[in-house]
């Protein structure tokens, strides 16, 4: 009789709540009971309020228990956990958990299901089909497929991926590069990390397809240093893929070369900006470059370069395998396909929810996320990371897509949603946005370098109650200069959280609520 397969996530988010102890407790208890078990350290399914989520393989599919603590294990095993039976903490068939069942998982189809250490398991779950198809196609056809899918950059800018790739493909250059941006520094986002830890071969497959599509022979995967588990997982997966012939002189039998080199960041948020990231790979200070030239024309080491977000690249295997139509068939307006939305902060059901564009912010926060974890009323949600706007519940009817958020002076960014309850002080959050910008500014352009520090000073004065109306007007003017005068999104978008906080929560700044403040700030944006 073969060993029973038990799944205990090795995802950093699961480890943070004790998954290693749970895995050790299960191994101990099974040994004591004389039952042979194989403990697979899978990725996370993305249901973080249920982590550590333990799954047991049964003849009728996987069943789940969670959240399991190490001290629960002896009792759960006595109640039949190893046979997939139980009552306490028993969640039934994993796939039937409503939070999972309601999702459309294209990009995260395998995350949390497969053994991330096994290429064979990846292939058994449909991985690699896209790459094999791409290997037999001429580059222009791969690009055309991605263009037809409507895929747009998942890093936040929302630029059509196919058009970017076409530019690189048609650019003249003795060599070309792919750069996968896994410098996921936005608070409230963890999709890149989850994917690298849970389905690393999807990242490699996406990068290899991109390489074949644009004629690049080398790809750089830039991961932030705050993600040590993802780095270790990707290093191992790259070695495995190389040994299997997916990388190297003959990439997946295409007759073309493609190699991946992993690079580790060093704690600079601004390196998530594509040109600062290129500087960092080149070994320089992570200072932003002026555009043009676009990286697609003159990028890494001066060569044509496709810089793509990690989730964008990992969305490509599905498109090649299932066809552009299958991806484009769902979505909302000009936002096609799915978006892995990350529910974070003070939220009951925090985790990753991959869905077609178009679901409203209110559905995400209240129905899917279950409201706040503290049980208090939601007061604000920040969408799109530290450079994203704060939305009050009165704007919860906003559909989640690029254009709808832009129309309300916000952005979806990398898809993170951070929920705050009614104890949040919005002036303090606005101040933090400026403080963070000052801390992380690369220093190249004046509006960002100096403006962020002046912004902190203005907000300090307002919080202390000094000349509030006058300082609010100055702050508005400063935000205007930062928005239109900064070289990149760090200085250019820091005004979003600041001005949205001021506009929607004037009383927190000591301003008269509603009409007057609304009018004062209505000219911005």
């Amino acid at each position: 009789m073969s060993a029973r397969r038990i799944f205990v996530p090795g995802d950093a988010g699961a480890l943070a709540v004790g998954a290693d102890d749970v895995a050790a407790a299960i191994a101990r208890a099974a040994a004591a009971a004389g039952v042979a078990v194989e403990i697979v350290r899978n990725g996370s399914r993305g249901l973080y309020w249920l982590e550590p989520l333990v799954e047991v393989e049964t003849p009728t599919g996987r069943v789940a228990f969670g959240p399991v603590a190490a001290e629960d294990v002896p009792g759960l095993i006595a109640a039949g956990l190893l046979e997939g039976k139980g009552e306490r903490l028993f969640l039934g068939p994993t796939a039937e958990i409503p939070f999972l069942k309601a999702q459309t998982r294209f990009t995260f189809a395998r995350c949390g299901i497969v053994d991330p250490a096994s290429l064979a398991d990846y292939r058994a779950h449909g991985g690699g089909v896209g790459l094999m198809r791409a290997a037999a196609l001429p580059p222009a056809e791969i690009v055309a497929t991605v263009t037809a899918s409507g895929l747009r950059g998942r890093g936040g800018a929302g630029f059509p991926t196919g058009i970017k790739w076409k530019t690189v493909l048609e650019a003249a250059g003795a060599r070309k590069f792919i750069v996968a941006n896994a410098d996921e520094g936005d608070s409230g986002t963890f999709a890149d990390r989850m994917l690298m830890e849970g389905d690393p071969f999807a990242v490699i497959e996406g990068m290899a397809i991109a390489g074949l599509a644009v004629g690049a022979t080398r790809g750089y995967l830039y991961i932030r240093s705050e993600y040590p588990h993802a780095i270790a997982r990707m290093e191992a997966a790259i070695a495995t893929a190389r040994a299997a012939g997916w990388l190297g002189a003959d990439c997946a039998g295409s007759g073309r070369a493609f190699e991946i080199e992993l690079r580790v960041g060093a704690g600079a948020y601004v390196c998530g900006e594509e040109t600062a990231l290129l500087e960092s790979i080149e070994g320089e200070r992570g200072e932003v470059r002026a555009k043009p030239p676009l990286p697609a024309h003159k990028g890494l080491f001066g060569a044509p370069t496709a810089v793509n977000n990690l989730v964008t690249l990992a969305s490509v295997p599905f498109i090649l395998a299932e066809g552009a139509e299958a991806y484009a068939a769902i979505g909302f307006g000009r936002s096609r396909g799915t978006m892995p939305i990350q529910l974070a902060g003070n939220i009951r059901h925090g985790g990753l929810f991959e869905a077609a564009f178009g679901v409203t912010l209110g559905e995400l926060v209240e129905a899917i996320g279950g409201g706040t974890l503290t049980g208090r009323p939601v007061r604000a949600v920040q969408v799109g990371g530290p450079l994203g706007a704060y939305f009050p519940p009165s704007l919860f009817d906003t559909p989640f897509d690029y254009e709808s958020f832009a129309a309300r002076d916000g952005l979806i960014g990398h898809g993170g949603i951070v929920v705050f309850d009614d104890t949040v002080e919005m002036a303090a959050m606005a101040r933090f946005a400026m403080e963070f910008c000052a801390l992380e500014s690369c220093g190249k352009c004046t509006p960002c370098r100096i403006g962020s520090t002046r912004g902190v000073e203005l907000l300090d004065a307002m919080i202390a109650g000094r000349e509030v109306a006058k300082n609010a007007a100055l702050l508005e003017d400063l935000c205007d200069i930062m928005k239109f005068g900064s070289l990149c999104a760090l200085g250019g978008f820091t005004p979003y959280p600041v001005m949205s906080a001021l506009r929607h929560y004037p009383a927190d700044f000591g301003l008269a609520p509603a009409a007057s403040a609304e009018k004062e700030i209505a000219t911005w944006a």
Binding site: D192, S225, E226, V264, G267, G283, G345
Partner: protein, 153 residues
């Protein structure tokens, strides 16, 4: 005294032929010594055909690189928005009190360094910290106390 210069030279040697090797070299130096020793800067500069000022500028640009070793234990506590929404300011205060040091400091006996970090990507189990490379989520007063207990003086 170990041959530090020799070790630095050996690290640089490992990255011969790597394009844009500055960060990989600096990471390797910090891994070997726990920080980037000042004496390594001119050596790296010479190897990369750059000025000392340029390498110094690169080292000081990135938050990760230290100019002196951290404590024997390293606590990196998240200060970003998702953790703030779950009371990370309180967690920072508890850590400062329990360790008797402020954010950014190392305890006088060299046992612990307490540092801010801006997002560990664990935003659905906030508030979080990374303690000696291990993630710790859902921090509260009790968890902070048990973390601190684990640090031998």
């Amino acid at each position: 005294m170990e041959d530090r210069a020799g070790r630095i030279a050996a690290i640089i040697e490992r990255f011969q032929g790597v394009e844009g090797a500055t960060l990989p070299i600096l990471h390797a130096v910090q891994e070997a010594f726990g920080y980037v020793p000042a004496e390594s800067v001119p050596v790296i500069a010479a190897a990369l055909n750059r000025s000392r000022a340029e390498i110094h500028g690169i080292v000081t640009f990135y938050h990760d690189f230290r100019d002196k070793p951290a404590g024997r234990h390293l606590v990196r506590v998240c200060r970003a928005e998702a953790c703030k929404s779950m009371g990370s300011d309180q967690v920072v205060q508890s850590l400062e009190q329990a360790l008797g040091i402020r954010l950014g400091e190392t305890s006088p006996d060299g046992a612990v360094t307490l540092e801010p970090v801006y997002c560990l990507g664990l935003c659905a189990t906030a508030p979080n910290a990374m303690v000696d490379g291990k993630p710790a989520g859902r921090l509260d007063g009790a968890k902070v106390a048990s973390l601190v207990e684990g640090f031998a003086p």
